[in-house]
Amino acid sequence: MSLTSNDNKPVISKKIDRFFIGLASAFTFVKRFFQEVFKPPFEFREIMRQCYEIGYRSLPLISLTGFIVGIVFTNQSRPSLSEFGATSWLPALISIAVVRAMGPLVTALIAAGKVGSGIGAEIASMKVTEQIDAMEVSAINPFKFLVVTRTVATTLMIPVLVMYTDFVALIGSFLSVNSKELVSLSTFFVQVFEAISFLDVFSSIIKSLVFGFTIGIVGCYKGYNSSKGTEGVGKAANASVVMAMFLIFIEELLGLQIVNAIRNA
């Protein structure tokens, strides 16, 4: 049964109908992902390849971004703290900011830009050139091979990238703190780990898993449902980045509420 109505008369209005149809289509897509992900064959080789492309190939960019974020955030926070003589709190502040929010968020946004657009464009171009149809004809499940592998790879790789980002951002912050406040590495890391809790670390990991899943599934969805023609490829790439980033921010907001609820429980 097709989700697009053959009837020309809209149920509510054309635009609202389109929105709900898109929502239903996305829901079906996600549902299909969860149905396919636990079914063999698991396409480990393809998952590994995607992990390499998404995780390892993104590492330099993510590391550089994390490093810069660490330095910039430290330098920007210093004046406010020094106003009331609390620059010794910089490591604690940076640690909380990086582990709780900046690490996952910056990683996810960079990954959405680099990986999400790549996935969207790649799948959209396959769709445009009818490679997906060809796969179906040659008895290969294109959804499993293209969507499940990429989404699993992003879901697994983003948390790992977040660990790297956190680490590199803290190193960047340390270099800044060390140059201005002459704080030693051990003191810096003692203060860093004093400020955060297990809840912060685990919530950060879970958030990264959700962000990774969002980047993968949005990219795949936009690519898989792209319109025909080369224009559709560009649109899919663009839409996957925009949608993924938007959803990441929404998830960050919801995640914050949930974590705060758990923290205060």
Partner: protein
């Protein structure tokens, strides 16, 4: 195929390093926050915990020894704090130790501070309740400060009145401050005082010298102060003097009694001394006795020439002549 394996290995290393960072972070954090340390549970009941939260640190002698595990309401409106404290510091915390709520720095997190405790009391045990001491309440501090401020205003107002009076030359201080003649007198007084102090210095020096002389060996005062034998002798003399004085006292009292009796007429001597009639009679008696003695003398002289005694008297004369 070889390329795929290479990619798999790189992904494996990449993931492993990521997990290693996570594990290292968790272990460091857990170690620092004493999450994996064997601990005991202690509790304390406060009226007000001033925003203390679960996970806040517990300090003992300025060292972090645990964290707050639970914050519960207790009784009517009190708050029970349950804290996890490292097992290894248990022996240093005594049953009579106290718990209060402090702050980690001026604007830092709230902390529980365990302090005090005497060595006479035994070490705390799992589940023990520490005596809670209420921390300094900032509101109360501000109230006191406000009271101080009001006092300060009054003081400054009084001071203002006082200084204006002084400036106008009123009162003793005002006169002192404004009167030039008084100033001159004051200067003179100071000069005199200086001279007096010089003189007193001299006098002290003289007295010092005198005291030194007194302290020299062979000096009576020095001996009195230092010679134990002399002291002993003096003591004995004083004792003897005291005994003599006691005897003299007794004798005086006896004499007093005698004189009292002599003043009375119920005894012979008193009568002789005080009774004029008796004195007359005694005088008469003496006169009679005198005349009797004369008569007796005459009788004895006559007896010398009387027969039986004449020879005896002559022998006595001869014996006197021989001697």
């Amino acid at each position: 195929m070889r390329n795929d394996n290479k990619k798999s290995v790189i992904v494996g290393i990449f993931v492993l390093i990521g997990i290693a960072i996570l594990v290292a972070g968790i272990m460091t954090m857990g170690g620092q926050q004493k999450k994996f340390v064997k601990s005991i549970s202690l509790n304390a009941v406060f009226d007000d915990v001033a925003g203390l939260q679960v996970g806040n640190n517990v300090w003992f002698s300025g060292v972090k020894i645990g964290t707050v595990r639970r914050v519960n309401f207790y009784g009517d409106s009190q708050v029970e704090i349950i804290m996890n404290v490292e097992e290894k510091v248990r022996e240093f915390i005594r049953k009579d130790s106290k718990a209060t709520i402090g702050s980690d720095g001026l604007i830092g997190n709230k902390i529980i501070v365990i302090y005090g405790g005497t060595t006479q009391a035994p070490s705390v045990e799992n589940g023990d309740r520490l005596q809670a001491e209420m921390p300094l309440d900032t509101d109360r501090m501000m109230e006191t400060l406000q009271e101080n401020n009001l006092n300060l205003v009054t003081i400054t107002e009084n001071l203002k009145v006082l200084t204006s009076k002084i400036a106008e030359g009123q009162g003793i201080v005002g006169t002192v401050m404004t009167d030039s003649l008084l100033g001159e007198n004051f200067k003179n007084t100071l000069k005199n005082l200086e001279i007096a102090s010089v003189n007193s210095n001299k006098m002290i020096a003289e007295m010092n010298k005198f005291a030194q002389n007194l302290n020299q060996e062979g000096n009576l005062f020095n001996d009195l102060a230092k010679d134990k034998e002399l002291y002993k002798t003096l003591q004995e003399s004083v004792n003897e003097l005291q005994a003599t004085a006691t005897n003299a006292n007794k004798m005086t009292s006896d004499l007093s009694k005698v004189t009292e009796k002599l003043n009375e007429q119920d005894n012979t001597l008193g009568m002789m001394l005080n009774d004029p009639e008796f004195a007359d009679r005694l005088k008469q008696t003496l006169i009679y006795a005198d005349s009797s003695a004369m008569n007796l003398n005459k009788g004895l002289e006559a007896l010398e020439y009387t027969w039986p005694f004449r020879r005896g008297f002559k022998r006595m004369e001869r014996a006197n002549e021989d001697n």
